[in-house]
Symmetry: C2
Subunit: 166 residues, 2 copies
DNA sequence: TTTTTAAGTCAGCCATGTTGACATATTTTT
DNA sequence: AAAAATATGTCAACATGGCTGACTTAAAAA
């Protein structure tokens, strides 16, 4: 029993560390999304709408298939939010030139403004968090988060200059 | 315009770094929860059930009010999953001794087994992620995630020995 | 004794995911 | 040219897990 009290008992630390991380994931994600959700609700939109606006803004001219691959939801689910966003003039749709079956999506000015405002809230939270820790901690955060991803998720991520730098 | 191409332009890096973090948060949380959801579905349970089982397991004898404070949902929402878990003998309920109005919750053996199995999946993902990075990266991850939390979330978190160590 | 608190219940609504079946236009293959 | 595959969209139905509002019961506190 005595060894349970030594400061570096590996098994105990590991178990607690892993549980602590699980809880951080739950609480941090919840707090991370809460503020943005509030602003979205004031525009009669939900988190699903923000995701679409975010990734269309990030990938102007993306087609529906590729957007579905990023979001990993069914086209019926996407259809609901996407038609809403098109009706309310957040997103513009135009026929593909090389492949006329495709609908290429991009943000309208209204969509760009909303995307900027909502994402700003989330950027601000990360900016504040990063400000309170060391740059070393930030690269550690990014490394761990990257290591949490499924292999199939990696190609969906745009690598930042920062990540490439190290 | 030339300064936009210098390798360490701070504004550009910051913007990209923050967007990259937002995307990591989205993708990592999604991949993190997906496996456990699959196992839960095979028991006819959802993510909400796991949360209840997890936090009851973590706080044996917790009363309903305190559990609601952790989960941050309405009692009607909790009621739905909790009665399910009690009916299916995952959670045991007993009257409080000092305050007889309270219902103190704890896991049955069946509940403990399920909690262990489902949480194991999530622990394993973190364990694998941590194995692929440095201990420094792990503490960085934890520091950033802690800094992401709302002030009101902090008291809900159990601090690990590790966190206290540094 | 009155009021507050802890817990539970009923009823209905909303957002966002799912499946299955099918339609239409266009591109690709044979 | 005909057939098959692809990109997109649509209708209908369902599940999960949030929400609000209204109301009850039992016990504790004032």
């Amino acid at each position: 029993m005595a060894d349970l009290k030594t400061p570096h008992h590996p098994l105990f630390l590991r178990e607690e560390e892993l549980r602590y991380s699980i809880e951080l994931m739950f609480f941090a994600y919840r707090d991370f999304t809460a503020e943005a959700d509030t602003m979205l609700a004031s525009c009669d939109l939900g988190r699903a709408h923000h995701r679409v606006i975010y990734f269309v803004g990030r990938n102007p001219g993306i087609n529906v298939s590729d957007l579905l691959a990023i979001l990993n939801i069914t086209k019926q689910s996407l259809s609901r939010v996407l038609s809403h966003l098109i009706t309310d003039d957040y997103i513009h749709q135009e026929q593909g030139t090389t492949d006329k079956r495709q609908r290429l999506l991009s943000l309208t000015d209204k969509g760009k403004t909303l995307e900027h405002d909502v994402t700003m809230i989330q950027r601000r939270r990360f900016a504040q968090a990063f400000k309170s820790v060391s740059t070393n901690d930030v690269t550690g955060f990014i490394s761990v988060m990257e290591a949490m991803l499924d292999d199939k998720t990696l190609p969906l991520l745009r690598r930042t200059p920062m990540t490439r730098m190290k």
